[in-house]
C-alpha cells in the first residue's frame, strides 16, 4: 500500500516584524497507491517545504498528512527520500551507502549486502560497488541515492528535484531509468520539479502550485501512454496546456 492523503495542510510562520508569512495555504490532495505524482512550481512556492513535511523532517504544521490511514509524525520507515543535493555519505563506498538503512535496521553483513546488491543492480552500477561517492559523476551519485532510498522498501518515495543539478542528457536518461525502476518496484512517488517537461514526461498526475503562498493551482491527469515521446504532438499539447495554466494563473502577484 502507499496511499497518501493531504488534508487542510497549512504552514506559516511569524516574521521578525510580527507579520504572518503563509508558506502553504490549505492544501488538499490525494496520491493513489503506486501513482507517480509531480508537484510543479517555481522556486519559493513551498514545494520543498511540503515534501519535508511529508517526510517528517519538519513538523510545524496544521492539518494532516495521512499515509495508509496513519498520520505522519516524524520520520517513518515507510517513507524514503532522495534529496536535491548530493546526500551520499562520502566516507562510505557505494555498497555501504545503499546498505546503510539496512544496517540501521540491524541486518547482518551478508544479508544486507545481498539486498543492497539487488538495488545496485537495479540502478545499473554493479561495477561501481566499491567506489566512493567522490569518484562518481553527479548522475551516478543520484542513482546510488535512489538505490539507497529503495533498499529499505518504502511504500512512498519522495524526490526533491533529484535531477536538478544534472545536464540535460543525463537528466533525460535518468528520468527514463527512474520510470523503469518505478515499473519494477511499484512505489508511490511524489516528485518535485520546476520543469514542465520533466513533469509531463514522468507523471500520472501533475499538481501545479502557485507561489507565495503555496496553493494548489490546478491538477492535471496525464494519460499519455508510456514510454512517452517528448517530440510527439500529444506530448507537446499537454506541455502547452500546463504552461498556459501556469502563465495565466500561477504567476507571482
Amino acid at each position: 500500500m502507499g496511499k497518501l492523503e493531504i488534508r487542510n495542510l497549512n504552514q506559516s510562520f511569524t516574521r521578525d516584524d510580527g507579520s504572518r508569512l503563509v508558506v502553504l495555504d490549505n492544501l488538499n490532495f490525494e496520491v493513489k497507491n503506486k501513482e507517480f505524482v509531480c508537484i510543479l512550481g517555481s522556486s519559493g512556492c513551498g514545494k520543498t517545504t511540503l515534501l519535508r513535511l511529508i517526510a517528517g523532517l519538519d513538523c510545524a504544521r496544521e492539518g494532516s498528512i495521512i499515509l495508509d490511514g496513519e498520520e505522519i509524525k516524524g520520520q517513518n520507515p515507510k517513507v524514503g527520500m532522495v534529496f536535491q543535493e548530493y546526500s551520499l555519505f562520502p566516507w562510505r563506498n557505494v555498497i555501504d551507502n545503499i546498505a546503510f538503512g539496512l544496517e540501521m535496521k540491524g541486518l547482518g553483513k551478508e544479508e544486507r549486502y545481498k539486498i543492497a546488491e539487488r538495488y545496485l543492480d537495479l540502478v545499473n552500477l554493479s561495477q561501481f560497488r566499491e567506489s566512493y561517492p567522490s569518484e562518481l559523476s553527479g548522475g551516478m551519485r543520484q542513482r546510488v541515492a535512489v538505490a539507497r532510498a529503495l533498499a529499505l522498501d518504502p511504500v512512498l518515495l519522495l524526490m526533491d528535484e533529484p535531477f536538478g543539478a544534472l545536464d540535460a542528457q543525463t537528466r533525460n536518461m535518468l528520468q527514463k531509468e527512474l520510470l523503469d525502476i518505478w515499473v519494477q518496484t511499484r512505489k508511490t512517488v511524489v516528485f518535485i520539479t520546476h520543469s514542465v517537461d520533466e513533469a509531463v514526461y514522468l507523471s500520472d498526475k501533475i499538481i501545479v502550485l502557485t507561489p507565495r503562498p503555496g496553493r494548489i493551482c490546478r491538477v492535471f491527469d496525464v494519460d499519455l501512454p508510456r514510454p512517452r515521446d517528448r517530440t510527439s504532438v500529444e506530448f507537446a499539447q499537454v506541455r502547452r496546456t500546463v504552461l498556459d495554466v501556469i502563465s495565466q494563473n500561477c504567476s507571482i502577484q
Binding site: Q75, M81, S87, P90, F100, G101, M104, Y132, S134
Partner: protein, 261 residues
C-alpha cells in the same frame, strides 16, 4: 605513486638546503668559533652520538619519553574527544562549557608544572599531565568544529534511513563526517604535546627520557650531546607527523582523496 621529474627536482632542492646548512654549520663551528662548548660542530655531534649509543641509554631514554608522551596523549584523547563531541553536538553543553574552556586554554601547559608535581609527585603521570595540558585543547577544539560543521543534509539523510537516535546519529553520521577534523586535532595535539616533553621531564620525574638527558648533559657541559638529543627530539616529532600524514590519513580517510586531489 610516481613522482614527476619536476617534483623530484624540488625534492633535491630540499636535500641541497640540508647539505648546505650542515656545511655552513661545520665551517662556522670548526673554522671560526672552534669551541665545542659554544657551538659543537656536526663532526662533534656525530662522535657524541656514537658515544651515546655506546652508553646504551638512548633506548631507555626513548622508552621513558614515549611513556610520558603516551600517558599525556591517551588522557587528552579520552577527555578531549568526548568533550569535543558533546560541545559540538549540543548547543547547551557548548554554552555551558565554552567559557571554562576558553579560560583554561590560554594557560601555558608549562604553568601547570607546580600542580603536576603536587598532584602526581615525581612520577611519569606528572610529566604526562603537563603533556595532557598541552594536547587536550587542540583535540577539543578540532573535534568540536568537526561536529559543528557536519552538513545538515547528512543528518537528515540518516534520519530518513532509520538512524534517528542521537547516539546512533553521532556514531554513524556525525563522527565519520567529523573524522578529518578530529584527526587534524590529534595531529596538532601530538605536535604540542611533544614540545612540552622537554620541560615536563626537566623537573626530574624519571632517570631517563630524551628531555631529562638533554638537561643532564647540559649540566655536564656536554653541548655536543645536547645537540644529539635536540635532533632526536626533532626527528621523533617529525616521525609522528609523517605517520599521521602518510599512514593514518591514507588509511582511514581515503574517501577524501577525490576531494583533496
Amino acid at each position: 605513486m610516481k613522482l614527476s621529474s619536476d617534483e623530484t627536482g624540488r625534492r633535491w632542492l630540499g636535500v641541497l638546503a640540508l647539505v648546505l646548512a650542515i656545511l655552513v654549520w661545520e665551517v662556522i663551528a670548526a673554522g671560526i668559533i672552534r669551541n665545542s662548548f659554544i657551538l659543537p660542530s656536526p663532526v662533534d655531534v656525530l662522535t657524541a652520538f656514537q658515544e651515546l649509543i655506546g652508553t646504551g641509554r638512548l633506548i631507555p631514554d626513548f622508552g621513558d619519553s614515549l611513556l610520558h608522551f603516551g600517558i599525556g596523549l591517551a588522557a587528552a584523547l579520552v577527555v578531549g574527544i568526548p568533550i569535543g563531541i558533546a560541545m559540538g553536538w549540543s548547543r547547551r553543553f557548548d554554552a555551558f562549557l565554552d567559557p571554562l574552556i576558553e579560560l583554561l586554554r590560554p594557560i601555558p601547559p608549562l604553568a601547570w608544572i607546580p600542580f603536576a608535581i603536587i598532584w602526581f609527585g615525581l612520577t611519569a603521570y606528572s610529566a604526562g599531565f603537563v603533556i595532557f595540558a598541552g594536547a587536550v585543547f587542540p583535540i577539543i577544539i578540532n573535534t568540536y568544529s568537526g561536529f559543528r560543521g557536519v552538513p545538515r543534509i547528512f543528518v537528515e539523510a540518516g534520519k530518513m534511513l532509520g538512524c534517528t537516535k542521537s547516539s546512533s546519529l553521532i556514531r554513524h553520521i556525525a563522527f565519520p563526517a567529523a573524522l578529518p577534523s578530529v584527526t587534524t586535532g590529534i595531529r596538532v595535539a601530538c605536535g604540542v604535546g611533544w614540545m612540552c616533553l622537554v620541560a615536563a621531564e626537566l623537573f626530574g620525574v624519571s632517570n631517563n627520557g630524551l628531555g631529562m638527558s638533554l638537561w643532564l648533559y647540559y649540566n655536564l657541559h656536554r653541548m655536543d650531546c645536547v645537540v644529539v638529543y635536540m635532533l632526536l627530539l626533532g626527528l621523533t616529532g617529525l616521525a609522528f607527523d609523517m605517520t599521521f600524514r602518510y599512514y593514518i590519513e591514507r588509511r582511514f580517510l581515503k574517501w577524501r582523496t577525490g576531494e583533496v586531489a
